[in-house]
Symmetry: C2
Subunit: 348 residues, 2 copies
C-alpha cells in the first residue's frame, strides 16, 4: 500500500516532505506542524486561544458525541477521511436532535506519512467543517512509528445544542411508528471497496458521505414527532434497524422493495455477494416517527438534496423485541439480524 496521493495542496513552508516522530514530541517540530498544517487550515478564534482546551458558550442542554475514523484508503470516490470525520460528527449530533456547534479533532499520524497527503486531507476537513459552520475548536497530534496507523487515524468529538423539545432515542419508539430511510443505501461501502482495488471491481460509484443536520433540523423545526433517528454507518440499514428494535423492545416490519438501492450499487453487491442492507453508508439515516407524521416527514426530507430519495420502508409493531423482518420482492418475509461478523474492515 502507498500513502501517497497526487498532492493538490502545497506543503506549508519550512515543513519536511514526510511526518517524523519528532512532530509528535511536544517540542519545536510539533509546534511547526500544528501552526503550519492545522492552525492555518482550521483558523478560528477558539483555536487562537492557544491553550490546552477551548472556552466556548454552551446551551443548557447539549449533545456529546465521539467517533474515530480509520477508513482505508484515506481518499476514496466522494470523500476522504477528513471529510468523513466532519460529516460523521455532524450526523451523530443531528441524530440526537442537536444543532452542531463545536468539534474537536485528534490526529494519530504515522511516521513517514506524506506531508502533501496530510495537508490535502486537512484542507478537505477544513472545507467540510466550514460548509456546515462547525469550528474545530481544539485538537491534538500524536505520531506513531512507521508501519502503524496506515497513514493517519482521526478522532473527533462533537458538541451540539439540543434543540428537539423531547428526547430522541430508542426508548421513545412506539408500536405503529413509521420507519423512513433518507435515501438510497450502500454507496459508501461500495465506493470504499472499489477504491481498494482489492475486489476486482471498477465502478463510478461515489460515497454518499454528506452532512445530515439540515434535513433533521427542518423536521425538528416543523414539530414532527421524531421518536428516534439513527445514521446508517457500519453494519448498514440492517444493524441500525435491529439496534433500535432491540433497545426499544419492539419489532420492525420492513418492505425490501421500498428500500432505495441504485442499480449500480445493486449490481456491485450481486457481484460481490453482499446484501445492500448490510453495506455501510455515511450520509443516510433512518427515522422512526409517529405514523400520522409520515407524509409530512417525507415532504420535508424531499426538499433537501441529501434526503431527496427518502422513502417509507416499514412500521414498528409490538414484540418480539428486536425482531426485524423484511418482506422480499417475491412475497415472503425474512428475518434480518445484525451483521454477525465483519463484512469489510476499516470502512469508516
Amino acid at each position: 500500500m502507498t500513502l501517497d496521493f497526487s498532492p493538490v495542496c502545497p506543503i506549508p513552508q519550512g515543513l519536511p516532505d514526510t511526518v517524523q516522530l519528532a512532530h509528535g514530541g511536544g517540542g519545536r517540530a510539533m509546534k511547526q506542524l500544528i501552526d503550519g498544517v492545522f492552525r492555518a487550515a482550521f483558523d478560528n478564534p477558539y483555536l487562537a486561544q492557544e491553550h490546552d482546551g477551548a472556552s466556548v458558550e454552551t446551551a443548557a442542554r447539549s449533545a456529546l458525541t465521539t467517533d474515530s475514523y480509520v477508513v482505508w484508503p484515506l481518499i476514496f470516490p466522494g470523500g476522504d477521511i477528513g471529510r468523513l470525520a466532519v460529516n460523521g460528527t455532524v450526523n451523530d449530533l443531528a441524530m440526537c436532535g442537536a444543532r452542531p456547534r463545536y468539534m474537536t479533532a485528534g490526529f494519530i499520524l504515522e511516521e513517514g506519512l506524506s506531508m502533501a497527503t496530510l495537508t490535502q486531507i486537512v484542507a478537505s476537513m477544513a472545507e467540510a467543517a466550514s460548509a456546515v459552520d462547525l469550528p474545530i475548536v481544539t485538537g491534538d497530534v500524536k505520531v506513531v512509528d512507521k508501519g502503524k496507523a496506515d497513514g493517519l487515524y482521526i478522532n473527533t468529538a462533537g458538541v451540539g445544542d439540543l434543540v428537539a423539545s423531547g428526547p430522541i432515542a430508542p426508548s421513545q419508539v412506539r408500536a405503529g411508528d413509521a420507519v423512513i430511510v433518507s435515501g438510497d443505501i450502500g454507496r459508501h461501502g461500495i465506493a470504499v471497496m472499489a477504491a481498494r482495488n482489492e475486489l476486482g471491481l471498477e465502478s463510478e460509484i461515489a460515497s454518499d458521505c454528506a452532512p445530515l443536520a439540515d434535513p433533521v433540523l427542518a423536521l425538528v423545526d416543523a414539530g414532527i414527532r421524531l421518536h428516534c433517528l439513527r445514521d446508517l454507518t457500519r453494519g448498514g440499514l440492517a444493524s441500525g434497524l435491529v439496534e433500535v428494535a432491540e433497545a426499544s423492545g419492539l419489532s420492525v416490519a420492513a418492505d425490501e422493495v421500498a428500500v432505495p438501492v441504485r442499480d449500480d450499487v445493486r449490481a456491485a453487491c450481486e457481484l460481490l455477494g453482499l446484501d445492500p442492507v448490510y453495506v455501510a453508508n455515511e450520509g443516510r439515516f433512518v427515522a422512526f416517527v409517529d405514523a400520522e407524521d409520515a407524509e409530512s416527514t417525507l415532504a420535508i426530507l424531499k426538499k433537501f438534496d441529501v434526503s431527496r430519495g427518502s422513502a417509507l420502508i416499514g412500521a414498528v409493531a409490538d414484540g418480539p423485541a428486536g425482531r426485524v423482518t423484511m418482506r422480499g420482492p417475491l412475497g415472503p418475509a425474512r428475518v434480518i439480524d445484525m451483521l454477525s461478523g465483519e463484512q469489510l474492515p476499516r470502512i469508516c
Copy 2:
C-alpha cells in the same frame, strides 16, 4: 513486543480471548464487546441512553479539550493508558479553569489484543473516572488489522464547566508574574522508559500520573489571580515555559536549583543523558500567578498530596518574547528552548 500482561480481570462471559476485526464491524460482535467490556465498566445513565451521542446539561461557559493516547507499553509503573487518558482529560480541563463534567472515549483496538488486557485497562479507566466523579458519557470502538495500533490507542474529549471568573490563558500573563511548578518533575518519562526495558534501566520510579483538578479548583475558589496554567506533559517543563512565553510575548527567568527533581529521577536522567526539564510528566503543572498571590498559591497547593511539592521557580519579565532562561547551580543562566527533536516517542 507482547500485548499480554498478567490478567487481573476475568474476561466477560461470551467474549473470545482476543479482539477480532468483527468487533469493530458494527454488528452483533461489536455490540457484545461494547456491552460486555465497556458498558459494564463505565455504566452511567448517559451511556444507558444507547444512542449515537449523550444528552447532558451544560453550563453557559464550557471548556472543551481533546487528546489521543498512544503510550507504549500500555501498562507502566504508576499507571496505564486508560488511567492516563482519564487523568489527562481532567488535567486539560483544569488548566482552562474548568470543573470536569463529562468525557468521551474512542478506542482504536488492534486485532489480536488480549481481551484480558483490554478488560484490565478499561477497569482501570473506569476506576480513575469514578475517583474524580467524571462520567464517560459516550464512546466509540474501531478495530484495525493486526500489527497496527500496538494493542490500543485511546482518544478522549472532555467538557468542563468554566468556573474561573476570567480567562486563564497565555494572553493573561504579565511581567512580574510568579512562576510556580506543582511538584517534582520527570517521573512519568523515566517510569515509561524503564518499563520498556529498552534503556538498560531498572528502577522503582512510578509515573506521577494523577488528576489535578482539586488543587486548581481550590486556587480558583480562593480568588488567586491565576493568569495561566499549563500541564507539563510531552516536552516537559521546558516546552511548557517556552510555549507560554512565546504565546504571551514575554520572557521567563527560572532558577534551576528551585525546580524539584527527585534524586532517583536525577540519577536516571544522568545515566541516560537526559535533562529533567525536558522529561514528560502526567501529574504536574506550572502556574503563572500575580506576584502578590505567590505565597498564598503555594500555601493552597501544599494542602493537596498531588501538589505538596510545589515550588516557586521563577518570574516573568518583559521581552525578548519567548526567551526562557534558567540559572544553574553554579550561577550563569542558560537559554532553554523547546525540545527540538524527539526525546522519546509514544510517552503519552
